[in-house]
């Protein structure tokens, strides 16, 4: 069951193709990280999926509703945190939330209950009767997040949710995203914070007008840099290169001082045999670690390779 499913979704503005044949499937209850440089078409994609603008061609279903013909229904079941908080400065925090709750078809009583719950959750309860014009950027962002969640949407689009937040508030937001996933909701997270993606996302899409790569963070790493195991020895590692190479499944071995880096297709199943062989040969193994490439390296590699190609 997919919360979001697109087929060759395309949006053009005149001659410019903002979103080019995006085909994507995001399972229910997943946190999807949508990465891409500024101007890549991420906001246009989100606007289409949130039922704000129509696609030029292609199809998309969000929580079972087709965007375009059923955009009204789509807007009812999704929550959207826009690039800018977009709050009414002259209204209090509570008034803002109650108003938007009513726009999402909540009764006034229900809207007030939900507003209270989210103001407490995001630490704004004490400021509920203050006008938003006097709020800091972080407080506005938290209030905008509360607005996006107020009507308990099945799918939530969050555009840079922790931008401008202090570490504590950012942590609260990340915890909220996890809580949403635990409740079975789907989160479509647009962000430039790659640590956040690493921490939260089950699935990542790198986008630059078209989908450059899609997979879990580990799959993207593996696809780009391969999988590998780092073995740290008590003495020079060069002595054990041949032992490692003698194993049929080892793709390559590199020794650097006391460290042996072994490229493998499936480290999880092949590591025990590799370690056993080295230990039997007498290698003084201190640590065995997974070779880790940061998501930032993956992202830069993917986006960089796109820049080199004519678009």
């Amino acid at each position: 069951m997919f919360a979001i499913e697109t087929q060759e979704l395309t949006r053009t503005f005149g001659e410019r193709v903002a979103v080019d044949k995006l085909t994507l499937q995001i399972p229910v209850g997943h946190v999807f990280g949508f990465l891409g440089p500024n101007g890549a078409g991420k906001t246009t994609t989100v606007r289409m999926l949130a039922g704000l603008i129509a696609p030029s061609s292609g199809k998309a279903h969000v929580a079972g509703c087709e965007i375009g013909p059923q955009s009204d229904s789509v807007r009812r079941i999704v929550g959207l945190l826009t690039e800018t908080p977009g709050l009414y400065d002259k209204l209090t925090a509570q008034q803002n939330l109650v108003f938007f709750g009513q726009m999402y078809d909540l009764t006034r009583t229900k809207a007030e209950q939900q507003a209270q719950a989210y103001l407490r959750l995001l630490g704004l309860w004490e400021r509920r009767d203050d006008t938003v014009g006097g709020f800091s950027k972080g407080m506005r962002q938290k209030l905008a997040i509360a607005r996006a969640l107020l009507h308990d949407p099945q799918v939530v689009f969050l555009d840079e949710p922790t931008s401008g937040l202090d570490p504590e508030a950012a942590r609260t937001v990340r915890d909220s995203v996890r809580a949403l996933r635990d409740e079975g909701r789907t989160v479509f997270l647009t962000t430039h914070n790659l640590n956040e993606v690493e921490e939260l996302c089950d699935l990542v899409g790198v986008f630059r007008s078209r989908l450059v790569a899609l997979g879990t963070p580990d799959q993207l790493r593996s696809r780009l840099f391969g999988s590998g195991t780092i073995i740290r020895m008590a003495s020079a590692a060069t002595a054990w290169i041949e032992t490692a190479r003698s194993l049929a499944f080892v793709r390559s071995v590199v020794a650097n001082e006391n460290t042996l880096t072994v490229a493998l297709d499936d480290p999880e199943s092949q590591n025990p045999e590799l370690v056993r062989a080295l230990a039997v040969a007498g290698a003084p193994i201190r640590y065995v670690e997974q070779q880790a490439h940061s998501l930032e390296e993956v992202y830069l590699e993917l986006v960089g390779s796109q820049e080199e190609q004519p678009r």
């Binding site: 039922g51 704000l52 129509a54 826009t82 999402y104 905008a144």
Partner: protein, 260 residues
């Protein structure tokens, strides 16, 4: 439900916008009090021969009045027409702030992301502008009528100023004029980023009123009930057409993607 929620929200915002409130309600206050003051000043005007004045010849309700009465009646009648500007001016100002304000405050996208329908949003915005504008106009007119009744030299003066044609125009024409101004404002606001631009262009809606004002001043036109009712029907049709056009021009997608 949503429409009421928007009206409530707009009222909360308007209540906290003091400078806008002053600029909204000062002109109607002046238009209401000034003629009463002038009529008081004209109470004891020296008598003269006014029987050959064009305005007297054109308007039979002014026939036989002495100079003081005539001065009061003419002043009262001109200002009573100017008072009809109130709903047009107020609705233009409120509508411009209400719609362009959503854009400049960057609240339009979150609002359009809700399941609100375009007609619900625009109806709420129209009512937001229409209710205070027409309400203020009618309250001002009531104060004006009480004032005229109190300071008029004779019942004939009061009857000449507060005639049925004026009441008909006030009740039936001014809401339509306000709606035309709002519709223009909605249409223009869809394409501009500055409330002042929308207001200035919306001011075109007062031209028909000013034409009537000057025609009456020159004695070329005397408002009567059939004319006022005819104008009310024509204006209602124009208002309906303008609102329909405004809804067509208000394309959510274009506004989101083109407004920068």
């Amino acid at each position: 439900m949503k429409i009421l929620a928007i009206l409530w929200k707009e009222w909360l915002e308007l209540r906290r916008e003091r400078s806008l409130l002053i600029s909204l309600f000062l002109p109607p206050l002046l238009l209401t009090l000034m003629p009463i003051g002038i009529m008081i000043a004209l109470r004891d005007a020296p008598d003269d021969d006014t029987s050959k004045l064009g305005i007297v010849l054109a308007d039979p309700t002014l026939a036989g009045m002495n100079t003081a009465d005539l001065g009061q009646a003419v002043m009262g009648k001109q200002f009573s027409l100017l008072m009809l500007l109130t709903p047009v001016l107020l609705s233009g100002i409120i509508a411009a702030y209400s719609i362009v304000g959503e854009k400049t405050g960057r609240t339009l996208e979150p609002l359009l992301a809700t399941p609100i329908k375009t007609w619900e949003l625009l109806l709420a915005k129209c009512l937001t502008a229409l209710i205070p504008a027409v309400g203020t106009a009618w309250v001002s007119a009531a104060i004006f009528a009480i004032g005229v009744g109190s300071v008029a030299n004779s019942p004939q003066v009061a009857e000449a100023v507060l005639n049925p044609a004026w009441t008909t125009v006030l009740i039936f024409c001014s809401p339509s004029l306000a709606l035309i101004a709002i519709a223009m404002c909605v249409a223009i606001s869809s394409r501009v980023n500055d409330p002042r631009t929308a207001q200035q262009i919306t001011a075109v809606a007062i031209i028909p009123l000013m034409a009537i004002f000057f025609a009456q001043m020159a004695g070329a036109l005397v408002l009567n009930v059939p004319l006022a009712l005819g104008a009310a029907i024509v204006l209602a049709l124009i208002a309906a057409g303008s609102l329909w056009a405004a809804v067509q021009l208000f394309q959510r997608e274009a506004i989101l993607t083109r407004w920068r």
